[in-house]
Symmetry: C2
Subunit: 481 residues, 2 copies
């Protein structure tokens, strides 16, 4: 019984220590497991099943916009990584280097891809000759490596899973449109499927991707008031094309450089789900991403007829298209409840001899713990409805939390005070100079999260919150993961 | 028009030069693309879409048997790789070594996984304590690296994609049952979905996996008479468990070692599809794995009503659940036919003004080139039927080819002569000594492919085809990829 005890033992409360709460949830919901490979993680079945759902939802949305999947090598020869100056400066300090193949040293060392812009450019330079070859709208699902010093499961690890889209277009306008299109795909996915509200915006020059002309981002707010960059979409202009010589003959037979984009979303979103929706009983999964949506838990299951009835309910749930399971193990119901809650399964259905007598079951919401008694015959239909309700309620709650933790500041003292005392986003005007960004980071450890696409303008005469010079943009600031 | 010409230009005929034919098909069907990363491949959309279908079919079959997906790190610290003696000897000479992370040398170098037995053992040693933790039936989809000297797309490359299942069980019987179960999953998948007949068998000790107690294999025969190992399933007994200390307390509270298995299938199967089914017009894809099953090609598409009618047919095909596309580009019909054939799309539907007048369309089989005229109203239903027919016909043809190229030999002279003159499998009795295997390989370059599960016994008094001593097993021999 030692094992059972361990699981129902309370986890650290998030109010007491959010970081420890996070670590406890990751471990006790069995999302990750042990590995002796430092800084890397093992994603266990409960965690990987969430990633599979993220993949299938995103992949479907990508393909609807014409994306085609490919697979490129995991290695990048050093000379290839170095072709674009800003890019190599951004990534070279944090890559893993392969120096030997088998028993022999390599003639040229190669890094394990931290991202694959250079490889896609290498491919496109060979494959694109004419405007007829455009656009290229490729994506790959793979793992990448960045040699981080401090790591946390899902949020920052030396290896993580992601998708990286890389496109090439005939015109700057088309590249910009694709950049924004994919940002919107990410935003819709986050809001509709993960129930995580996001702020869409542009990164400042200081925060943009190494080699990009502009970086768009979606930023979400965690329960502790810290921001999480949740997906980025980059417009490279023709910078990489010039570095790699990716040219095509246009309809007028003139040689032109292509315009490129890239965009990515990672396993870090599992961390976002935990930190936006979780509570002191563990994980809370939005129904649309939950690998198991409903857990049927029979009470006094040894009494005649209980398991049969539970099985009927289970089958009705499955027939209604819900992802449902039954826990008929020999653990106690209370232990099963705790486990279902810890694992974040959005709903459980309890039914025992008394319920069966009354032709009823009890639906229990994971998010609010509300219990709803419904007739057995309606169980599946009501469960499906309730899952919709939960999905929406989780989004609404996360949105209300973000709104309640979004502040404004127009002078530096109140800005600093807000950052220090009120975890959340602080909207404040900015002059556009990196000096102010640097100063704010030094003084408060907050960074510019983005210039929002909606509401990024400032009225004439507004002063930069930091230096007091005329502001050009409204910026979301915050401490970030 | 330079590009069009290139595509319809004939490929090397397989009778003339099979290896060059293969290379031509891979390139012209646009399965792989250019990369400057030596020995690695770029899998382009047409190739990757086949892999996605392989993944989804296999993954579904795995999950039906209780498999759960996970993800483990891509790096293996050297000390971990070395824990199982046979395993490290098998793999150490062909791994890629990471020696630097960022700007600093690593304290311990790590290899990029060539396979992940050691990592799974590392995990299982921590996660398995009690019989209640068993079985573990994990699988991961990932890429692995083996530093091959000579490489060919799909068949042998320094990095390839695969799945690797790794299981741990309480008893030897359960491990053996899982090993055979997964072999059967592979065999059924190959035969039912890829239309590739396989011989199920066991590897000899010489040919088994590094560290395995026994290795089961499915072997298929390519069009040129060479064998391709198409999937393997290994029973490790408790060898790895002892090396890694993976123990559990059983129901009687006694400490026991687990019994383990692993099993894998790779992107090499795309090579098998090409070499089993392809012809001198290019790729021929079995309908069940083809990303596009039917290509609708309108004739004289500028004439009024043609595109509308073609669109109707396309929609009817999609509504019938078929993966269908229309080629309404401004290329000539002949060019479109060649392209559809090169890419191996199992069927095309031609319709022009004459057809529409007669309320008919023409179904053209890729495998036999047979043309079948059907009424437009029946197009989708007939196409669906015909795809089933094609799938079965492709399997039957491949099976007939294998049977016609499977020989027997009972004395060494005729054995050597058959291997030399008749590409295919040669069934011949064997004494069980590695010396004979070594001699056969040296004399003929053929290797033992497997001892078949059906028909692996020999009659008493049968002599080893090599040394003449009493034979213990019937073996499939052949030259292999």
């Amino acid at each position: 019984m030692a094992k059972e005890k361990k699981l129902v033992e309370a986890i650290t409360s998030m109010e007491e220590d959010f970081a420890q709460w996070y670590t406890d949830v990751v471990k006790k919901a069995e999302l990750t497991g042990y590995t002796s490979v430092k800084g890397c993680m093992v994603i266990k079945p409960a965690g990987y099943a969430i990633w599979e759902n993220i993949q299938s939802e995103l992949d479907r949305r990508f393909k609807e916009t014409g994306v085609e999947n490919v697979y490129l090598p995991m290695f990048i020869p050093e000379s290839l990584l170095q072709k674009e100056k800003d890019h190599v400066e951004g990534f070279a300090p944090e890559v893993a280097w392969v120096t030997h193949g088998g028993l022999e040293p390599l003639q040229e060392r190669m890094c394990v891809r931290p991202t694959s812009e250079t490889l896609f450019c290498d491919l496109y330079a060979k494959e694109i000759q004419s405007y007829r070859d455009l656009p290229k709208v490729f994506n790959q699902w793979c793992s990448v490596v960045r040699w981080e010093k401090t790591t946390r499961p899902f949020l920052r690890s030396r290896e993580f899973l992601w998708q990286e889209g890389h496109t090439a277009h005939a015109t700057a306008e088309e590249a910009e449109a694709r950049t924004v299109q994919m940002l919107n795909v990410y935003a819709d996915f986050c809001e509709q499927i993960l129930a995580i509200p996001v702020v869409k915006g542009r990164k400042t020059d200081k925060e943009k991707f190494a080699g990009a002309e502009s970086t768009y981002t979606i930023e979400s707010l965690m329960h502790d008031g810290k921001a999480l960059q949740s997906g980025t979409s980059h417009n490279f202009g023709d910078g990489f094309a010039k570095a790699f010589g990716i040219q095509f003959t246009d309809r007028d037979n003139k040689l032109q450089y292509v315009h490129q984009t890239s965009w990515g979303m990672t396993t870090r979103m599992i961390g976002a789900i935990i930190m936006v929706h979780g509570d002191n009983s563990g994980l809370v999964l939005p129904p649309k991403i939950a690998p198991t949506q409903v857990m049927v838990i029979p009470i006094q299951q040894k009494k005649e007829g209980v398991l049969d009835k539970a099985d009927e309910v289970l089958n009705a749930l499955k027939a209604a298209g819900l992802r449902a399971k039954m826990d008929d193990s020999d653990k106690s119901p209370g232990w099963k409840f705790s486990e279902q809650e810890m694992r974040g399964i959005p709903m459980r259905i309890e039914l025992g001899p008394k319920d069966i007598e009354n032709n009823q079951v009890v639906l229990v919401r994971r998010d609010t713990r509300e219990k709803i008694v419904v007739s057995i015959d309606e169980a599946a239909a009501k469960a499906a409805e309730l899952l919709e309700t939960i999905q929406q309620a989780m989004f609404d709650k996360a949105l209300a939390h973000r709104e309640a933790h979004t502040y404004e500041a127009y002078d530096y003292e109140s800005f600093k005070q807000t950052i220090e005392e009120k975890p959340g986003f602080v909207k404040a005007p900015w002059c556009g100079c990196q000096e102010c960004e640097d100063k704010i980071k030094e003084d408060t450890s907050a960074t510019s999260r983005c210039v929002p696409l909606a509401g990024g303008e400032v009225k004439e005469g507004t002063a930069c919150v930091c230096c007091g010079k005329p502001a050009t943009k409204m910026v979301y600031w915050g401490k970030a993961y």
